[in-house]
């Protein structure tokens, strides 16, 4: 573990990512200190470009974009991490069990996965939000529901391949328990794939949220980056900064998450560096 930590901190891009991510977390934490009150409040003239009266300018109703971005960091991080966490736990459990045990369990679990996966995911998320309503908890739920199947399939594929490896076969013939084989021998070997996919999944969750917001399906009482982009979209060509500011925020966050993911990947799988 210590080695892994050292490998991680030696990985420069990963450190950069971590620093960025920490900055986003801090932004989320200090939002209400820096900008007390409602981020939806109208504070100035609309359509002011950045670096005028307001550091990041104002949007079409004259709301301070800097305040919106700070508050948005909260919502966006919450949605990204919460949805991914739920989806990963569900996906790894279902995919792992299916891939490891195969046979009837596999058929059943994969049927379940297929069920959720054949439904066009974005459309299904829209359907869920349309039916359940667009409060933030329901949006997280909807994103998690549509996000886990790819993880399950990926983990299943890895487990299936792993199940037939010599060392697993050896463990089985030695009479080792299934739980132990899965947790100690197979899971660590699939971790890199899970981490890589998981890191992209956070990003995907953030992007799904922005897609839903773009279609007007966000929580109207909560400020999020997706919401700012969605509302600024129609003025993309006349007031570029309204989309660009939260867009860059999403970009940096997604990039940071990915770099950290890569760093973890390399750190947890030292053999990968030998190519």
């Amino acid at each position: 573990m210590r080695d892994a930590f050292l490998r991680f901190v030696r990985h420069k891009p990963a450190l950069v990512g971590l620093v960025l991510l920490v900055m986003v977390v801090i932004a989320a934490a200090v939002a209400s200190l820096l900008y007390p009150g409602d981020p939806f409040r109208i504070v100035g003239k609309p359509f002011q470009p950045p670096l005028t009266d307001f550091p990041l300018g104002t949007d079409m109703l004259g709301r301070d974009l800097a305040a919106a971005v700070f508050y948005g960091a909260r919502t966006t991080l919450l949605i990204g991490f919460a949805a991914t966490l739920i989806a990963t736990v569900v996906g790894v459990t279902i995919g792992g069990l299916a891939g490891y045990f195969g046979g009837r369990a596999d058929a059943l679990l994969m049927r379940l996965t297929e069920l959720f996966q054949t439904i066009p995911f974005f459309l299904f998320a829209i359907l869920l939000v349309a039916v359940l309503g667009s409060s933030i908890g329901k949006i997280i739920f909807a994103i998690a529901v549509v996000s886990w199947p790819p993880m399950a399939r990926l983990v299943r594929g890895e487990f299936m391949a792993m199940r037939n490896r010599e060392f697993v076969q050896a463990c089985v013939s030695m009479g080792m328990g299934h739980a132990r084989i899965i947790v100690v021998h197979i899971l660590p070997n699939t971790l890199s794939a899970i981490v890589v996919t998981g890191s992209l999944m956070i990003a995907t969750a953030i992007l799904i949220e922005s897609g839903l917001s773009f279609l007007g399906l966000s929580d109207p009482n909560v400020m999020s980056w997706g919401y700012i982009i969605g509302s600024g979209r129609s003025v993309l060509r006349t007031a570029w900064w309204i989309c660009a500011v939260p867009g860059v925020a999403i970009l940096l966050t997604v990039m940071a998450i990915n770099l950290v993911g890569d760093g973890l990947n390399d750190a947890l799988n030292p053999r990968l560096r030998q190519l």
Partner: protein, 324 residues
């Protein structure tokens, strides 16, 4: 080699999945407030309560829910997708007219994304932690994190408005109504921008997956063995590493089919591409149940078949995987 019996068994297994999806979506849609008659009245401008009642009756909405479901299932089993009252057309006709454009866009995007993604991914892995790797990683993440509608609109601004190379939207030039080969060329011309926009988004996934996968495979014992046997690096990579590294990529491609099939709503919106995603999206908000369920049904069948194909590919890429 998988047997025909295996394929048939898989298809038979799929039947309950398909039906379960239809039932799940049917029930979910029952939870949504408002119905097709509300929407039609809203669009028409007004309607008397008597007219609304008559509408609901002719749509079958006055029946109890379980009866509606039973009737629908009975239809679906005979591959009759019913009638879209909103469009005044059979659902199958509506879906068929959108299936071609959808498959065209989906096929192009998937092929491009997998091909370019595998190429970039292996390239990045070959040049691990060097500038090529960093450049590829940065660019693909950039492409991935850019909101699709923003990328689409920017491509339109650059390539249609400023440069005039491609049309902004649609699938064919409506002022011309080309026939024959000119029509094919015209459609291909219209396909470029939406396909590129969507590919940019999916590319990152394949490139990253391929990179990670190549690295993982390269560290495997069998590769070390192959090297020890005296195979050249090129042979090792091509014969062993790439082949095995393709596994997760193929898995993901299979998964993505379902996603792209209906998930291209945004691109279809931006480029006015007449795909199924947009049709499904519109039918949801119009509470056009038959149409929406029909689209779910067709996409389900499609994904079932693609998943089967993916599993067949598996066994070819890695003979150790048993198909049971």
């Amino acid at each position: 080699m998988p047997s025909l019996a295996y394929v048939l068994r898989r298809l038979a297994q799929a039947v309950p999945t398909v039906l379960a999806i239809v039932v799940l979506n049917f029930l979910l849609l029952q939870l949504a407030p408002g119905d097709a008659a509300d929407v039609l009245a809203g669009e028409a401008g007004s309607a008397t309560p008597e007219y609304m009642a008559q509408l609901r009756k002719s749509f079958g909405l006055d029946q109890p829910m379980w009866l509606q479901l039973l009737l629908y299932l009975k239809q679906v089993v005979t591959f009759d997708l019913g009638f879209s009252f909103r469009h005044g057309m059979p659902v199958s006709e509506l879906i068929l007219s959108r299936l071609g454009p959808t498959l065209l866009l989906m096929g192009t995007v998937l092929t491009l994304a997998v091909f370019v993604g595998v190429l970039l991914g292996s390239l990045a892995a070959r040049h691990l932690n060097r500038w090529q790797d960093n450049l590829i990683s940065t660019l693909t993440v950039l492409a991935y994190a850019t909101p699709v509608f923003w990328a689409g609109l920017m491509l339109i601004v650059l390539f249609s408005v400023k440069l005039g190379w491609f049309p902004t939207s649609g699938m064919q030039k409506v002022a011309a109504f080309h026939e024959g080969f000119a029509k094919v060329k015209d459609i291909a011309h219209h396909l470029v921008l939406p396909a590129v926009t969507l590919t940019l988004f999916y590319l990152a996934l394949y490139a990253r997956l391929m990179r990670a996968s190549v690295l993982e495979q390269a560290s495997m014992d069998y590769v070390v063995t192959a090297r020890a046997k005296g195979l050249t690096e090129r042979q090792v990579i091509r014969r062993h590493v790439l082949r095995n590294a393709m596994l997760p990529v193929v898995t993901m491609a299979g998964v993505q089919v379902g996603a792209i099939f209906g998930g291209a709503v945004v691109v279809e919106t931006v480029f006015a591409w007449p795909g199924l995603g947009l049709l499904a999206y519109e039918s949801l908000f119009a509470r056009d149940l038959n149409l929406l369920l029909g689209i779910f049904f067709v996409s389900t069948c499609l994904v079932v078949m693609v998943n089967l194909a993916v599993d067949l590919c598996y066994s070819m890429l890695d003979p150790r995987i048993e198909l049971r």
